[in-house]
Symmetry: C3
């Protein structure tokens, strides 16, 4: 029985996630629904895209991944289902799926147009409950994506923040602050092997790249290879974002150490 995952900005205080799960279970009572996160900042498509891209590949083959960070709900933005070698992805075509899809080989994209697989009447404000949830439930039952709507080539792709590599230096930026206050950058740890690096915020050297948090004294900053494959700036036993004033978008430079 396929797993269905949910990544949304619906939060914990309301019934939105529950209603969406009810609709799914009415269609497929045997599916396992897993919450990736409902704590995405409201309307922050990039944050939802990053959460999905950081977690989707740990799920079993056949999993249906649903992401709903959807500030355009009710407007003319499309809903889509994307099939890859291992998974199905369902959500609004606003880029929220695109960072995960950049890691996958896409087999086909279909627009969600066949209302027979929607919950009706479709509201103008809650397509998670009325479109994406029901569609995911039908896919988990084996529905062919082609039944959901016409094949399409178009896909909204969020630009990935590129790093810049020069002699002895790599420039990147902070992509995400996690709940521990660790700052996840776009610096791929595979690009760092074979050198020792200092980490700079602007001209200020803040720490070295080490292998784990405890390589520095408690309360001291350190950069380590993170679990998503990107360099993270942390404080051993503390909150780096608070201590160092880090925020999404802040520029980070690495320079080789001699």
């Amino acid at each position: 029985v396929p797993v269905i995952t949910l990544t949304t900005d619906f939060g914990a205080g309301d019934w939105f996630v529950g209603a969406m799960k009810g609709v799914i279970l009415e269609i497929n009572p045997r599916t396992t629904i897993v919450d990736i996160s409902h704590g995405i900042t409201a309307g922050e498509i990039r944050a939802g895209a990053f959460a999905l891209a950081s977690s989707f590949r740990f799920f079993p083959k056949g999993t249906v991944h649903v992401a709903v960070v959807d500030p355009g709900v009710g407007s003319r933005r499309r809903g889509i289902v994307v099939e890859t070698a291992r998974y199905s992805f369902v959500g609004p075509d606003n880029g929220v799926l695109s960072w995960a899809l950049a890691q996958e080989r896409i087999k086909g994209i279909h627009a969600l147009e066949n209302e027979a697989f929607f919950r009706r009447p479709v509201s103008q404000t809650f397509h998670g409950r009325d479109i994406f949830g029901p569609v995911a439930a039908h896919l988990s039952l084996g529905l062919a994506p082609g039944k959901l709507g016409p094949r399409t080539k178009k896909l909204v792709r969020l630009p990935w923040p590129q790093t810049r590599v020069s002699k002895g230096r790599i420039d990147g930026e902070i992509l995400h602050i996690d709940g521990f206050g660790n700052a996840i950058t776009n610096l791929d740890v595979k690009a760092l092997a074979g050198n020792r690096w200092d980490v700079f915020l602007g001209r200020r050297r803040i720490c070295r790249v080490e292998r784990f948090y405890q390589a520095v004294a408690p309360g001291r900053p350190v950069a380590v290879p993170g679990s998503t494959g990107f360099l993270e700036i942390a404080v051993n036993g503390g909150n780096a974002a608070r201590k160092l004033g880090l925020r999404i978008g802040v520029r980070v430079s690495l320079r080789t150490r001699h």
Copy 2:
């Protein structure tokens, strides 16, 4: 296998929800437990009643809905199970079930008195774990509600905030602020059809009723038919509660536009 839903004010920081699920799974290991919300404001019976009333009907027939917002726990307030055509409802008889039940045809109400179906000893502070959870688990196994205690006619019903309709005008109020900052009113969207409406807070006109958020420019207020069937006041891409200073109980007037 029936679904059991949980709606509580237990929050995310403690083990209360987990303990309740453990007790349920010990009695019925095969049930599917779905969280509607555990983020109801502590002790706010109306908020719990509204969350349940907004979501219960999306679950499969046979679902057992448990709601525990229970500031009177340990006192003489009763526990009840209510059977309707499609569902069972379990919780304290303090009104938390009543807004959902107002939408259903009630087949029977029983007081929860038979301690054989409770976890013992019963604490004075956590009936979710000791009474409502176990009772729901037994119901999900097919237990007849009559085994749980005597039939009763009484039910505590929360008053529903009424709207007032006069010529070219409807007066209502804000029932809920959701996690996006949208203000859900008690104004039934079915009553609005056929007219165009302006929305007032006191004497201040704040927006029009439109069909979806993007009918106005980003950052501008708008009222739209919400997914629960009530009019919502929103800000396109923003937080209406913060921007407009909205709170539960604030009065909202609609006037026809010419």
Copy 3:
């Protein structure tokens, strides 16, 4: 099919819990995963230990309890699995399991060393996903703990805050503030039977011990036997921590009343 429980400080805003569940479900698609809490304060081992100790015993026999509050992740602290008469416990050997284990008869402890049961490569920052989750999934499939690594006698045990009993007086402290603002002490309610007690913070008498919240008027403080077996300081219908300025570690005295 055994239940797997999760108690972590991963929070609700990130994908960490989701990724861990994906890894578990890939190994054992049929297990039921229950969240005890992911809202443990970051790095607060005692808070995680208390949450697990307060909830583990409500789960069915055979449950695999995983606790990951792990500020030492990536350093040389060990991972362990502990078998008791009814359960398996998996996590870092930093004390987070120890308050639960103090209530159980331990049958065996094994260090987690066999990488065949890990997800590889093992990150230095996320052993929940790469070690503890996979190990728990294999245990839920029936793996003998001896396959995971060598038997050991050592176990890091957090000291339990002791109470001090003298004539007509018991001194203790606050262990936890729950989401309602109730302060859970280390005062065992079984030690209080047969006497009537006044509750003091330092020299200030704040309330009596009663049987339930409503024994005092709304807004008034009261101490009641809590659902974990410890005395709780509450405010009827209010938030005791805020109203009385309570925090973890604050000393509480009981004196008999005449």
